[in-house]
């Protein structure tokens, strides 16, 4: 059996960062968001910790995009990312995911990691 390896490309979430301002994020449950993020959909391209992967999807956290830009891109992506409609991913679940992304801490500085020096 042969499978095809297809590079999915990088979703360009960052481009939208400034275009949609800093609208307040709806309240969400970070724990629920982690569960959804790491079990279906998101983790596949962005990693369980939203760290990103060069060939599949960019880093999403810490310091995620403003919610308005984030939400707009998830619903109507302009790059390779598949669209997540409100039917597939309800607004409340999206808010949970966003809360999870906001909860992720900054990583240790690379200089403090001996293997990365």
């Amino acid at each position: 059996m042969t499978k095809t390896t297809v590079t999915l490309g990088v979703a360009i979430l960052a481009i939208a960062a400034t275009a949609f301002g800093q609208a307040a994020a709806p309240a969400g449950n970070a724990q629920s968001g982690r569960k959804v993020f790491a079990s279906n959909g998101c983790y596949e391209c962005h990693g369980y910790e939203a760290q990103g992967a060069t060939p599949t999807g960019p880093r999403l956290a810490p310091r995620p995009l403003a919610f308005a830009a984030f939400s707009k891109y998830v619903r109507q992506p302009t790059g390779q990312m598949p669209p997540y409609t409100a039917k597939s991913l309800p607004d409340a679940t999206l808010a949970d995911i966003y809360a999870f992304l906001q909860s992720l801490p900054a990583p240790k500085a690379a200089d403090s990691i001996p293997l990365l020096k």
Binding site: T2, K3, E44, C45, G47, E49, P55, G79, P82, K87
Partner: protein
Amino acid sequence: MSKSTRTTPSPGRRRFLKSAAVTGAALVSGATADAAAQSAPPARPAPGTAATLGREADPAGVEVLTTDRPGGDFMVDVFKTLDLEYVAANPGSSFRGLHESIVNYGGNRAPEFITCCHEESSVAMAHGYFKAEGKPMAVLVHGTVGLQHAAMAIYNAYCDRVPLYIVAGNSVDATQRRPGVEWTHSVQDAAAMVRDFIKWDDLPASLQHFAESAVRAYKIAMTPPMMPVLLVADGALQEDPVSSHAALRVPRLTRATPPQGDSAAVAEAARWLVAAESPVIVADRAARTHAGMARIVELAEALQAPVIDQGGRLNFPTRHALNHSDRARELVSGADVILGLELTDFWGTVDAYRDQLERTSRPITKPGAKLVSITAGDLFVKGNYQDIQRYPEVDLAMAADAEATLPALIDAVKRLTTGDRTRVFEERGRKLATDRQRLLERARTEASYAWDASPISTARLSAELWAQIKDADWSLVSPVDFVSRWPMRLWEFNKPYQFLGSSGGAGVGYGAPAAAGAALANRKRGRLSVAIQADGDLMYAPGVLWTAAHHKIPLLSVMHNNRAYHQEVMHVQRMANRHNRGITQASIGTTIDNPNIDFAGLARSMGVHAEGPITDPKDLAPAIRKALEAVKAGEPALVDVVSQPR
């Protein structure tokens, strides 16, 4: 060939068994005098006079049951002239004669028999071996079921422009086949099933024909564009005695020189490159031999032009100031001249494609940018399989081997470079060096994200492995696509054998056996072979672990165990999103869990030292250290690492 009936046997494979009766029958049926002479009992030859040795006969008319000189021995003589170090095979009765000749007559040396558990493994081992060694490994396959098993791996090598030397057993003469399985394992045209993705094949009808085709096959396979070739070795030729009248000889092999680009085209390309303000060199399978990397470096340095290494081979040192593979799109978008060296997909290099409900594409190059292609791929194209990719609109196309063309191109560039251009180049080089340093810093920073995560990040996995091999003479014998190319971003690759590219055809199941084949080549040089081994890939034919243990092939396999055919998870997810059907079902049919596979247990069961599963990144370094001890003692070892998806 004489008519075949039960009472008039053909002058075929078992004719010698009843010499007196067959001789009479042959004469009655009007066989030639030469054929009759072949049927007559020859004198017992002196031991060691191999090339003209015939069957044994007894003057008293007792059935002759043995021969000192079967045709397979001569086939081994042929192989020895081709410097075939190994032959990989899963045993099959259609080549039992040749198999026996290899292990007894040939002394199981050059070629040495490598026992494989699946023909896909045999072929992929030969694939990996070639890329590490630079010469083919022979592969023996059953003419039907074995070749069917081997087909996908042959396709990978075809796409990857790798020469394979495949010999398929078959039983052509239907009257001589054993009833039952030998019929189901025989075929009229064995090569037909793979002819679309090999370069040449033949079905020799005599031993002399075999010798000439065997040498021709080697020459064809090794001439760029390199590809697999296939010889069908008929069972009768392998097993029957060599005729005492046969004057067999092995023709001399003269390798063809690779085709160079037309001199006028080379001069034109040099003019464009020297005049360019933002030239970019893109290389895929350009470094065909170990000399290739040095040539690309020389060209890039002469121009102070950035290089994008697409990774079909290791084309450029990863930490060289001109290696800008991590910003390919940015550079291609800004380039005024793009030189493509053995690109698999020039169109995909200069165009963007969007996989949404409406599929769209657009050029990413700026208007007026000149595209120059040098590829031997233009010299040999077949129609059925579509590895040719979309048609690229280039401005100058040289149907030539890039590596062989580079010396002329470098000379032309240097001749055209004036003092003014040298100053421009130097300034460009300084800026590129600064940008390169930024890319390295960015890679380190990005690697720090999810550093302590479980499942373990592919960046952490790569960094932990690098820390323990970097002072050795190492070779990464696996692809890196599934771990986000982290080794190319974090490790220092500067020797051509340190990376061997990918499968070519993206046929899963290549990784593990190709790594074992490359490690086999590296063994005699004392090189430390390491592989980052994908879980789904290993599960295609895990028996290669046993092959590695049995043949004492030192190879460290660090599992990238994301418990999925993850590329397919993403594909199914994409479809679910496109069809607006939720996000919960993409794992069905794509994940490899419930139960989780115990890869360490699997490896141990086949005699391979194993560690894991490792889920805590803190446990990774000690596990790798222990496994390396086994590898340094000459054994294969595996570390199972439960990892992030990519």
